[in-house]
């Protein structure tokens, strides 16, 4: 009996209910349409997104294994790629919601009949406990909740089992969208409390290893550093039941191996390939490449205003005119993005963000600006990049080095190891010139400004400070987009960004995912994790 036949017999005979005792996963063969095989560079290091030190790949656990009150609806882009729509929310655990007339609270009705995996009904008390946990544990979840003005536990009230109320500190356009990000998950509080101790009241030890959710998928197996396997929660009622029964996520550190696995047909979806591979795979008719511009994100050069020459706006503009945009875009990014240079006017016409800045490669203009600023003979500056992103950062820096040399700016390249990057760039803010790749989860220019351009913020590695920007950001951050003040204020903000250029954008990068042709249903989110609920392998959807 060969392996394939054996697998078939075993799979049929045993059925799905006794799976854990089988020595194989019951996908009879790699071709089965209900098993999705994903290869990725890094896997989750925790089942709990609220834990300190939980890595980015772990957000997929929050996305697939847990539910939130609301989810984001889907829109289809011109190229056919699916993308989340943060302006339209969809019910998930909350069946409906209403903002109070006085604008001071939001009331959610919990879906009837929805249960956790263990059969316990999902109640407003579970929601309260989970939200309390997110704002109490500190670190990342607390900061992310705060972005939606969700700060203390008094704001969350479980009126009865089916009614949950959030009291608002101030009306903000960010509150509702912030409930759809991976952080505000709903945890099975009865189960978690059973494992909580006096020292660990939020059950962090237990939830770190064991998810306790209600999501469309349950954890079948987790071998940290090797693989994560999900199986479908067949009684899921908080959305359309997924067509995929099982998802196998294998961690394959080498990008060339991941590509080989995809090309040989052993993997359905390959993540984290370098831009060059995507550019090459795009030509093939065997695979689908979904390239979606990462929202509210750009690859940019940060100029530190603590560095003497960069204190002068003219010097910053001179640098912006000496960047070999086109060359970088073609040779470092392999055109996997949207150009952010060559804007037509010094005043923004729309409030679209990010949008091209009004700069282009023009060495004469650059030299003239330097002369005007008194730096005719140039100066020396180190250019730093994060070694963890060397694949595209290094060629980018080399091209930049050569190009700035033409206007007399001598650049030395400073490679900073990933572990050091945050300290050097973001905390000490001591890098005179550096490559930046920040992206905000909520897609508004004011939200970007809040993280990057406001004084003292973590991602303001440029030490930029402009009182007008402070004021404009505060004024727009919680304002509804259709408010009459919003557009003029944002336009003014962008005009200042254009003119003062502490940050010189080069391109908005794509998030690329490569899939077999028959795999459909990939949806892009700002958190960049796979939402496995929509996938289909039958090739018909």
């Amino acid at each position: 009996m060969d392996r394939r036949n054996f697998l078939k017999t075993a799979g049929v005979a045993a059925g799905a209910s006794v799976l854990p005792f089988l020595k194989y996963l019951p996908a009879e063969a790699a071709g089965r349409n209900d098993t999705l095989v994903v290869v990725t560079g890094n896997g989750p290091n925790s089942m709990d997104i609220h834990r300190k030190g939980t890595n980015r790949p772990s957000y997929q656990i929050a996305v697939n294994l847990y539910d939130r009150l609301v989810g984001y609806s889907t829109k289809t882009l011109e190229n056919g790629s699916l993308m989340y729509d943060y302006t339209k929310l969809e019910p998930e655990v909350a069946e409906s919601w209403a903002i109070a007339e006085d604008g001071k609270s939001i009331t959610f009705k919990i879906r009837k009949g929805a249960t956790f995996w263990d059969g316990a009904p999902i109640t407003a008390h579970d929601v309260k406990w989970s939200f309390d946990r997110a704002v109490s544990l500190g670190g990342f979840p607390t900061v992310q909740m705060k972005a939606g003005s969700l700060v203390n536990t008094d704001q969350f009230v479980a009126v009865d089992d089916e009614t949950f109320v959030i009291k608002l500190l101030k009306p903000s356009k960010l509150t509702l969208p912030d409930l759809g990000v991976p952080v505000p998950i709903i945890i099975n509080s009865k189960l978690a409390k059973k494992h909580a101790t006096e020292k660990d009241p939020w059950g962090t030890e237990y939830l770190h290893r064991t998810p306790a959710g209600s999501g469309a998928f349950m954890l079948d197996r987790w071998d940290p550093g090797q693989q994560t396997v999900y199986k479908r929660f067949d009684k899921w009622t908080n959305g359309k039941l997924p067509g995929i029964l099982r998802v196998i996520i294998r961690e394959i550190p080498s990008a060339s191996t991941r590509r080989a696995l995809l090309e040989r047909g052993d993997a359905d979806v390959s993540l984290d390939l370098p831009p060059k591979d995507f550019a090459e795979l795009q030509g093939s008719d065997k695979f689908t490449i979904s390239g979606v511009p990462i929202e509210n994100s750009m690859i940019a050069i940060g100029l530190n205003l603590d560095f003497e020459p960069y204190k002068n706006k003219l010097v910053r503009q001179a640098v912006a005119h000496a960047i070999p945009y086109d060359q970088i875009f073609k040779q470092a990014a392999f055109e996997r993005g949207i150009p952010m240079w060559g804007g037509k006017s010094a005043k923004p016409e729309t409030i679209k963000w990010p949008q091209p800045f009004p700069y282009d490669t023009d060495y004469d203009k650059s030299k003239a600006l330097l002369k005007e600023a008194g730096y005719e003979n140039g100066f020396e500056v180190p250019l730093a990049f994060n070694l963890g992103l060397a694949q595209w950062s290094e060629p980018l820096c080399l091209l930049l080095q050569e190009s700035l040399g033409k206007v007399g700016i001598k650049v030395t390249i400073d490679k900073i190891p990933g572990a050091n990057w945050r300290t050097a760039a973001l905390v000490e803010k001591k890098l005179p010139m550096h490559v930046k790749a920040f992206g905000g989860w909520l897609n508004y220019p004011d939200y970007y400004s809040f993280w990057v351009y406001q004084k003292g913020r973590l991602f303001n590695s440029m030490n930029y400070h402009n009182p007008e920007i402070e004021e404009l950001t505060e004024a727009t951050l919680h304002l509804e987009v259709d408010h009459p003040d919003y557009e003029p204020k944002i336009k003014r903000m962008l005009e200042i960004f254009f003119d003062e250029v502490p940050l010189i954008p080069i391109y908005q990068p794509y998030l690329d995912v490569a899939m077999q042709k028959k795999v459909t249903g990939y949806k892009y989110y700002a958190h960049r994790q796979l939402d496995c609920r929509l996938f289909d392998k039958s090739g018909s959807a």
Partner: protein, 342 residues
Amino acid sequence: MNTNSKLMIIIRRILHAVPSVIGIIIVTFVLTRALPGDPAVYFAGPAATAESIQEIREALGLDKAWPEQFWIYVSDLVVGNLGVSISTGFPVAEELARRLPASLELTLIALIFSISIAIPLGIAAATRPNSWVDQVCRLVVTAGVSLPVFFTGIFMIYIFYYILGIAPSPLGRLGIYFMSPPHVTGFYTIDALLVGDLEVFWAAFVQMIMPAITLGIFTLAPLARMTRASMIQVLSGDFIRTARASGLSRGTVLYKYAFQNALLPILTTLGMVFSFMLGSNVLVEKVFAWPGIGSFAIEALIVSDYVAVQGFVLAMAILYVILNLTIDIIYTLIDPRVGLDG
């Protein structure tokens, strides 16, 4: 010489290891604290504020003075607690127990492969110096040492998996649809045999072939060279001439007299090669998605997870000490000279 004096030598060797271990503990502690990068900043996550960084620094105990941190570290070590890895949230001892067998299993297979080629090749080359066998030996050795591991690995995947499709997919220890056998030793092949599961045994074994060969090729050189050199030296000895003159058969002379005497330096090299392979096969682990101890250490280093790095260095150092100790002990058992002047 009696058994007692051998026992004394062994005990003395073990005692000699104690200062090394103490030294290792101090050095790893200081080195990991001196690493660049601030763990608190890293683990505060993408949206950290000054307060949340401080909160994490306190939670990790990094705000305490070094001597106090060292005291906590040592008192934990005494009870076998290597600390909790900050990046994975699992106890370091548990992580090592999970990953060390994967590395050991692969390294052992690679070593067996390497020995089975290098030693016969070395002996053949030594018996016929400068003949064609010797040239082949030289060629294999030079090629093996000059091909970087990641190149051999990717090359093998390209040929045998991507082009020919005869090798299993390079997915780590088991193919996609297999589950690991119940954990006993952590060696998948042995664990599978223990439950009598030949299919999983075979699946685990075939996954090891390509990475083991990749790793083995690199270590052919030191083993073959050492075998050759050591054999040539022994073969020119007087006692071999006497043995030959006495009309002993070629096989007896070669294996009973020459090879056994040439074994000591080979054994030393073997020990060194083994520990070298165990700690430094990160590239092989990356290319073949092998969840071993080397990639664990590198990942920990990248995210400035000093607890894990500390645990890894300590574990490797102790392993090294044990290995050296074992080889020393084997020496005393097989070579009478060691006992006399040691």
